[in-house]
Symmetry: C2
Subunit: 786 residues, 2 copies
């Protein structure tokens, strides 16, 4: 059924001209280093020696951009554009240049012939810009490197932005990834009254690097079912004739935007919060659309051969160069740019102004919009600690009360995220002031579900992480709690975010965003019940491979230190903060003044646990992590009982980066400060929460490193008791005491019977747990009493 | 519309009895340590002190098990059972015990009262078995720890197993994860003629740990659309009345199995390979079905409160204990087990025999079925190397020719896997003997797609990994090539697989399976074109956190060493082998005899590159990785030119584990062997492919460690030239030469002008690339000529 045209002939002509201009500039970026407007014959030296870039997806991205611009202008929309196929980097750069943003951001890339030449040359060129959408690209919050996160980023951006429409292109390659596949269901977590909208545009261009795409090769009926099953109403725009496609896409976009506004109206005026069926677009267009149809007798347009650089020998091969020239001239640049290389007026006018330009939206530079959190005084949540090493407190539950009030004070720009683990992680106090976001069916008995909930729970670490990234990068704050072992699910997403932060640190116009805060709990030492598969403290190691200036790792040993650390993290900017803390009841060590002092220093001697009384110790016992702290203290107690004159120095580390040299990390200790703590020649028994070699990595340049003996998790575990987990990995009090005995020379001759006794305790423990199924009472109920 | 009953009254009664027995045994495992058949009143001391386990999903798993057994017997099926909600560990243990497998496997857990007591006690008990489905569980290839992999494992098991039906339960929690969401499309990669079938059973029990599930809370119409969109015909079985549910499930299972056999028949007899619409089942049943309806006034059955242990105080609290006793007695154990605790005859007969038992299928202990690969002689694929450090070869392309012939010789038990990167990774020769698996729509111009293809490509690292794991664990062989940076996507899946291998190494009845072989290519040093997001060599670090006895890491510097390493890996068992090798043209070093010798040793001095002539060197230059090898050699050349009498020892490392102490890794070098190579006191400049601290970690106990100066990737990168990537991270020839100059005392006084010259070369490089966009010819075309 043919439709009436939506675009007038003039509108059609102009929008098509804009698209031609964007495509021309895209091809130019990929191929040319000189002669940008082909005002002289195209010579080999005009072609870049290394041709790098992705053409295939770019014309589609540009096509959509042109049409979104029409809608923004016609409707005065607040819109941002997320490009899943972000390897199509030339597209948004071209658009930003046409909109003037690029020259405003990078004055050297002026909107004229000289600027165009630099625009072309800098792309994928040493000293220039990356080949993908990147932090350097105005208007972007989404690196084009790793695929899968377009939709979850988009929803993150839309939360709490009631006027924002996030147009989101999902490549049909990206659609095959797990994270993307999961994130379709994000529409069950968005509130049409208070959140913005996501408009997914599934771009079927049919091919990946070398293969067809699944979604392009299932039947239209199946695809329609699938997208309806995701909760959308899909609208299909398919073809390759530009005029027809312009009309179809414009009409479809109008329909979708009308739908979105009607959904908003119903929610906001009629109070209808029932989950709507959100519209979306399926755009099926040829890969490398408008590119060369054939090269060397092989079909290029509409095939995977268009994916990157459609033909590579344009510098060396005259016939390839002729193809390139014909291709470039097919856009008729002489109609698009004037004498000076400036876009002609019709093109210059075909975009919104100022912050309505998608290349200039402040949402894409979230630091501009970032407001400080209104923070309650964390000290008010302090646990009373009469005597160190006593009591029984779930540290993360205490944190929950603090987070509750952070939430209460920031109900428009703070959310917490967890893969179905918020309550398991003991953060349920947050539900006293808000609910879990949920806009699917509800039934009686449901617990704290509501469309306007601010606790984001879906059983997908990927989706949680993607939402949070999108939320942070658009200028808000968040907190992600996760089982420690399974945070590895988002290792690669963390990589991309950390790299984004690292890069933006060097881009002056990018403003700092709130840090990404992880609480890793249900950690390795208390996954005694779920067993071996749930035991992996290696995320810290993974994190440590990234640049020191964006990474912080904290191991608060108890509730008050956890509060202090969390407060610090929530106030920080441009970091990834990793906090590791247990959720099980445990003894507490520091009252709040002590906790604040300890966290401020990040590392320190605990005098009450030490017996070296300002003299040189016989041994240093260091620890980082809550369970290691307890076992180390218990070992100190054992040793002091048996060897009352043994001089033990007890050091606890909260801020892991303190162990590093101050030349390597801004939190690092100087050599002399480190030596003052750990001595230059005494044995150090260090008990660490994670894999032990990380401590060696952090300290191997230190004077006393040769005397460091580190205990940690060494991949021993099963379903057993909490203390047995320690024993299996030799971080328990008995083994640590033996470690000291074996390393302090003056104990060697007098300690044989103690060593024997400790070995017997280990046997006793083993017999006890295998008989009783739980730890010995003296272990279970241990409190510091030295 | 009511249906005629499928089950006769007797069948119904028996199947229900079997289910009651399995449920009874499941509850017993979670709660009891004594009094297994309640032949005395239930006392506190009969209850385990620590109650650990997951009840919620277990009755559903048992229900399905019972019905699958009926079908296996009726149809003599070869079936295996994959339980996505594998935290329901008590279920398959109960089933295995009822089938006799458990007692055959663990004679101590006999099929009688004493055995039942031990069965109960061992569950989640120190010295016993894990709380989840685990390697210890007969019939399992699927650890219940991390969710998301049920379907991809199932397809991996089904490939090349034409008679096998893999019944696969997908929890509605698991269904929210990304990896699971992506893996539905696996049905576009299965060949009904040559592969088995996967029967997905989506189990909607409505709740996760604390939240409802998405798929349970969308409309029936949406769910139906979604599953049809995935390419399935879903059959719904919904309710909570056992009799009705038994009849419905039995009928539905019959329909599905008929369908599967009809699809097989059409493919195998009629030659119809067109992608069928595979049947699947949606089972909607209450969470914690048959458990206590309410405890302490709170609804338990049918809610998230059933997820783990439905009530925890059975030992301490009399009323809870009474609930437990009532619950247990509701299964009427006295009808199910005889005087001696042996299952009564009707139950004992209600399962298939021998290997038809799902708890005893050899597919779940793949080592039993594993056949050695028929291997071509890898030396036949050797690259000719006239002079070391010359030529220009894409190493992975050479590997491709070898893999082609491995494939040709093993067309029923070998596959290669890649996330749309097989050809990009230069393994396209494989397509000479097989195609890419593809059973979606095909169109003219498609390149090597076929339903019986053996190159498995989907743009999902998760799905590739899951398929491969399923394929390996059921006794076949595979090879996974991936861009180095994005292998982090499956970090957590690797963790689980490595833990599985570690555990099975200690389970005598588990037979060794083929190693999981990764080729990481498109690596950090040649992601100069895709930029910073594609640069991460940290998977090696991640891998190194796992047990040494399952981990191998190889960095072959050229094509012949790559061939030798790959041959070794493909023959190995029970490892994860990580091979890192570039795909770009590069100089070659070793002819095949040298390569074999070098790979056999794993580390060695290259005499032709050294100038220490059996005397003590002035400096040791070590390297690991192809680009580091080239840059180190080029540095040697520079140094020998300027300082002809400098004694340099050149050491190349292929097998990274050789650097470790032989007490820590079986491939490690002894202290004396290490010292003989690296000296005890000379400066060592070591250039490493990845993050430099890993080399320190591996060597910090070595005598000469204090003199190790390691260069590697330090997170500096963008879109630039290949050599510039080296310069940015200071692993280039000029910086390495300066490193030597700065560390060899006798050079210090005579080298000022050389140092200056090298610094100037770095400036010259920078100016050249920013002008020309590519590296200087002397760099690009470098060949060893010293």
């Amino acid at each position: 059924m043919p439709h009436d045209p939506v675009l007038t002939p003039d509108q059609l002509k102009n929008i098509h001209a804009w698209w031609r201009a964007a495509n021309y500039l895209s091809v130019g970026q990929i191929y040319l280093m000189d002669n940008p407007l082909l005002r002289e014959p195209l010579l080999p030296e005009h072609i870049k020696p290394r041709l790098l870039g992705h053409w295939g997806t770019t014309p589609g991205l540009n096509f959509i951009y042109a049409h979104l611009n029409r809608s923004i202008m016609a409707r005065d929309l607040d819109m941002m554009y997320i490009m899943g196929p972000g390897h199509g980097g030339p597209g948004p750069v071209a658009a930003g240049w046409l909109e003037g943003t690029y020259s405003e951001t990078y004055p050297d890339i002026s909107q004229d012939l000289a600027g165009m030449k630099r625009l072309f040359r800098q792309f994928s060129f040493p000293g220039g810009i990356p080949s993908h959408v990147a932090p350097e690209t105005p208007g972007s919050i989404h690196e084009g490197g790793e695929l899968g996160y377009a939709l979850s980023h988009a929803y993150g951006a839309a939360f709490d932005n009631p006027e924002l429409i996030v147009a989101t292109v999902i490549g049909d390659g990206e659609a095959e990834t797990g994270p993307l596949a999961a994130s379709w269901h994000s529409n069950k977590f968005i509130n049409p009254a208070r959140d913005g909208a996501v408009l997914p545009i599934l771009h079927l261009n049919g091919y990946k690097i070398a293969n067809p795409t699944i979604l392009d090769r299932i039947s239209r009926e199946e695809l329609n079912d699938l997208l309806r099953g995701y909760g959308h109403t899909p609208y299909f725009v398919e073809g390759n004739d530009p005029d027809q496609m312009h009309q179809d896409f414009a009409r479809t976009l109008d329909v979708c935007l009308d739908k979105i506004h009607e959904i908003w109206r119903q929610a906001r005026e009629d109070g209808n919060l029932e989950r709507p069926r959100w519209p979306m677009i399926v755009l099926r267009s040829p890969k490398g659309w408008t590119g060369p149809a054939e090269v060397d007798g092989q079909k290029v347009e509409g095939t995977w051969r268009s994916h990157q650089v459609p033909f590579a020998a344009a510098r060396e091969n005259d016939s390839h160069r002729a193809v390139l020239e014909t291709w470039l001239r097919s856009y008729r640049p002489e109609e698009l740019f004037d004498e000076l290389g400036v876009p002609v007026a019709t093109i210059r006018e075909l975009h919104p102004t100022r912050q309505r330009r998608m290349s200039a939206t402040p949402h894409s530079n979230g630091g501009i919009l970032l407001r400080d959190l209104r923070m309650p005084a964390f000290a008010d949540y302090a646990v009373q600690v009469e005597n160190p090493g006593t009591g029984s407190v779930e540290s993360t539950r205490v944190l929950g009360t603090f987070l509750r009030d952070v939430m209460a004070g920031n109900m428009d720009n703070f959310r917490v995220f967890a893969p179905d683990e918020n309550n398991s992680n003991r953060l349920d106090a947050v539900l006293e002031v808000t609910d879990r976001a949920w806009n699917a069916r509800m039934i009686p008995g449901d617990d704290h579900l509501a469309p306007d909930g601010r606790v984001m729970e879906i059983l997908s670490e990927h989706t949680c992480q993607g939402w949070l990234e999108g939320y942070l990068l658009t200028g808000r704050h968040g907190f992600f709690s996760c089982y420690e072992a399974f945070i590895h699910v988002i290792d690669s997403m963390f990589n991309q975010h950390a790299k984004w932060l690292t890069t933006t640190n060097h881009i002056p116009w990018r403003r700092p965003v709130a840090s990404l805060n992880y609480l890793l709990t249900s950690h390795v030492w208390r996954q005694d019940h779920n067993g071996f598969s749930h035991q992996d403290p290696g995320f810290i190691d993974h994190v440590m491979n990234k640049k020191a200036d964006v990474i912080r790792v904290y191991l608060p040993p108890d509730a008050n230190t956890l509060l202090s650390v969390a407060d610090h993290c929530l106030r920080s900017r441009q970091y990834v903060n990793v906090i590791v803390a247990g959720k099980q009841p445990q003894v507490q060590y520091l009252d709040m003044p002590q906790a604040i002092e300890h966290c401020t220093k990040g590392i320190g001697i605990w005098d009450w646990a030490s017996s070296d009384a300002d003299s040189e110790p016989d041994v240093v016992m260091g620890c980082a992590g809550d369970v290691p702290t307890m076992e180390t203290l218990a070992a100190v107690e054992i040793l002091r009982f048996h060897f009352p004159d043994l001089r033990i120095r007890f050091i606890n580390v909260v801020d892991l980066m303190r162990l590093q040299d101050d030349r390597e990390h801004s939190h690092g200790l100087s050599g002399s400060d480190f030596d003052a703590l750990f001595t230059t020649n005494k044995p150090v028994i260090f008990t660490y929460h994670g894999y032990p070699w990380l401590i060696h990595r952090l300290t191997y340049h230190r004077t006393n490193h040769a005397n460091f003996h580190v205990r940690g998790y060494k991949e021993e575990g099963t379903t057993t008791t909490p203390f047995d987990m320690c024993v299996l990995n030799q971080i328990d009090r008995f083994n640590l005491s033996i470690d000291v005995i074996d390393r302090v020379p003056r104990l060697r001759d007098i300690s044989a019977h103690v060593r024997e006794e400790l070995k017997n305790k280990l046997i006793e423990h083993r017999l006890y747990i295998e008989t009783h199924g739980e730890d010995m009472p003296e272990i279970r109920n241990w409190q510091w009493s030295a």
